[in-house]
């Protein structure tokens, strides 16, 4: 991974953490001061290397695990801030990165927090289902 790719990937995460949903090529260019074509080349390399997933137009970040750039059934909340997650596990992953908070599973309970993480302890008990074997996670990452 070259210097530009490192800078671009880190910028994508900064923008997602700041609350930007689906950072675009233009957003990252502005954030980093890089030229748009440099960011575009880096986007493609990072996607090829499974560092992130792009929109069909290759100009917007759809996934930068554990963050999702688009709305999903899973949301992580800390205070008044919230982020979309790719799956239930990633919703915990966001809290693992950013701190204690709540996981909302819209598919299961209509938008109410399903779990709370406080001092690293998750309540109430529950299960996260993994459907796709680990070796096949990236065969169809959107499905995974």
């Amino acid at each position: 991974m070259g210097t530009v790719d490192r800078v671009v990937r880190a910028a994508v995460f900064r923008l997602l953490v700041a609350g930007l949903e689906g950072p675009t090529l233009g957003d990252v260019a502005e954030e980093t001061g890089l030229e748009a074509d440099e960011v575009a080349r880096s986007f493609l390399w990072l996607a090829d290397e499974h560092r992130l997933t792009l929109s069909a137009g290759k100009d917007r970040v759809v996934m930068a695990h554990p963050f999702s750039g688009v709305s999903t059934d899973y949301r992580s909340r800390i205070g008044n801030s919230a982020w979309w997650a790719n799956c239930g596990w990633d919703a915990f992953g966001i809290l693992a990165l950013l701190g204690d908070g709540e996981v909302v599973d819209k598919s299961g309970n209509g938008g109410e927090p399903a779990w709370t993480v406080a001092d690293g302890v998750v309540t109430p008990a529950g299960l996260v289902h993994f459907v796709v074997p680990a070796a096949q996670f990236w065969d169809d990452i959107a499905f995974t």
Partner: protein, 47 residues
Amino acid sequence: MDVQTAYDLSVIWYQDRMSEDWVPASPAEAEAIFDRFGLTSRFWRLS
């Protein structure tokens, strides 16, 4: 997987994800992380 294990695994899995220096875990490294959480079945093997 119970949610506490999912959270604990994610702490290890994602701990350095936002660093500029992050690189993906190799298959062996990833399997070693899975092993720590008792995820040793064929489902969690990468090679």
